[in-house]
Symmetry: C2
Subunit: 194 residues, 2 copies
Amino acid sequence: MLELTKSTIYLATNNMNKFEEIRNVLENSKINLRVINIKGNEIQAFSVLSVARQSALNIAEKFEGAFLVEDSGLYIDSLYGFPGPYSSFVYKTIGVGGIIRLIKDRENKNAEFHSALIYGENGKIIKNFVGITEGTISTSIKGEKGFGFDPIFIPNGYNKTFAEMTIMEKNKISHRAKSTGAFAQWITKKLDNA
Amino acid sequence: MLELTKSTIYLATNNMNKFEEIRNVLENSKINLRVINIKGNEIQAFSVLSVARQSALNIAEKFEGAFLVEDSGLYIDSLYGFPGPYSSFVYKTIGVGGIIRLIKDRENKNAEFHSALIYGENGKIIKNFVGITEGTISTSIKGEKGFGFDPIFIPNGYNKTFAEMTIMEKNKISHRAKSTGAFAQWITKKLDNA
């Protein structure tokens, strides 16, 4: 019965881990999240917000429905923000082992995970939501959950990596859960007022 | 007197090293190369040709004159093509030292420099030119000429890096000289027939 009152929103991604995390945050909301196989151009820019925004503009040109698009990246202090917006490419090429090798001798292991989430509908971008989670890069690869650089990122206040956490645990503190949570709050208010 | 018969073409870049190399290749041609401060969106794509093409499309929308835009990248075999199209970002973050550290223990040191050059006029892309130079990554940083990853790239058949070569030497074999040389040949024929 409840299902009938839900609004369907399409997440433009081919990353099922990302979909699962966002869907989990929206579980008790009025949103019914689906995946749509549509991709915007991702530009080269330092901030994931810039990347996600341009991607959303492209998607809005092609798709009339309500959609979300998310971009995220790991910004490592002592590497001047590397790999940042190119985290996916860097993961596929030098991998988590490459990152560990690059910062092995660095005293400063600080890093931030950034998430930028854009909501669009009727061929327009409506609003963006950003989440940042601070932490450190671990000295070794730990855990098999999550995806991407999760096995080397220890969020501040914890002594395990994102990859050692269940989706529920990670969603209490992750960058993506923060951007999605902000979106959930906003869209709930919007739907209540509609 | 000769100057009067030259055609002016604008290179869209803010990299003066790149400008100098391309200008040097075109020195004895009918082209008078100038810089223009206009930038297209650079997309995230594995090939520099894709990146340059999208960039050229953006520039063509804003600029009516004859222009060139070039994108280049270093593709390292054992790192699955890293840093590739993100060479400039990777240079600014982990730098040449980072690359050396990443491939230190790899037996395979093979790498390729790719250059993609696009020519456009009258608001349209006319033709693209690609140049590839094969070589290896050196075990240490050598030379102070050139720019970017030149100090760690040894072209095949040589025992010094691009950064140990004069612009004239580098222009005999470089990826950028190859793409520019192909363009020079084509544009000369085009101007002769005009």
